[in-house]
């Protein structure tokens, strides 16, 4: 099972690399925010699987924090694009 965990963690990071391309070339800011939102979820997944692989429960807390607060970034960007923040 542990090989499966590390394979999944690395695969999610590879998918995150694909998303980095969109983050770099995205024609509008909204495209970049979409890529960033998905990228943070990929990072959460990768952390969770790496925690299961390494057998360290303390990495799970980092993943929970990332899952809870990465969406705040998306909401703030959405509000900023609508000009409701300024």
């Amino acid at each position: 099972m542990h090989e499966l965990y590390i394979v999944l963690a690395i695969s999610e990071l590879v998918v995150g690399g694909l998303l980095l391309v969109r983050l770099a070339i995205g024609p509008t800011t909204s495209d970049r925010v979409v890529a960033l939102n998905t990228l943070s979820t990929q990072a959460t997944l990768s952390l969770l699987f790496f925690a299961a692989f390494a057998g360290r429960t303390s990495y799970l807390d980092v993943a929970i924090w990332l899952a809870s607060f990465s969406y705040l970034g998306t909401f703030v960007w959405a509000r900023l694009l609508e000009r409701e923040l300024l």
Partner: protein, 138 residues
């Protein structure tokens, strides 16, 4: 049995994650990319995490916290995608030329630039969708 279920769930999750990422790379405009992004999370991340829960058991140190993450992702991600799509539509990010429906603007003429149209940061300036994006009136 348990390992087989785990491997199947992780394979489903990885397949959908990969297809969603390719969709984010290849889709023509931001609205299609938002659709691919939310599919990546609901169909890609949740089955993979449920596979982890099946492998570790729901009441262990791993399974419980992973279930918390599953709940967070399932609740917050649709709201985030909705807020993002709404913001993109309000700012007037241009749609793909092949778009066939633009329901909020169907009755109006071309939307005038809003009050913040002068703040043209990047290419997110308030450009109303081109008239060619509308369906023909029948």
């Amino acid at each position: 049995m348990r390992e087989g279920l785990t491997i199947a769930l992780c394979a489903v999750g990885l397949t959908f994650t990969l297809s969603g990422a390719i969709g984010i790379l290849r889709m023509p405009d931001v609205y299609c990319r938002i659709q691919c992004s939310s599919k990546t999370i609901t169909m890609g991340a949740l089955p993979a995490l449920l596979g982890l829960v099946v492998a570790e058991g729901p009441f262990t140190a791993y399974g419980g916290r992973v279930l918390v993450v599953v709940l967070l992702l399932a609740v917050v991600n649709p709201a985030a995608s909705h807020a993002l799509a709404r913001a993109a539509y309000k700012v007037g990010v241009p749609m793909w030329a092949g778009t066939v429906a633009d329901e909020p603007h169907e009755d109006e003429p071309v939307a005038a630039g809003s009050e913040w149209s002068e703040g043209s940061e990047g290419s997110d300036a308030a450009v109303p969708p081109a008239a060619g994006n509308r369906p023909e009136e029948v």
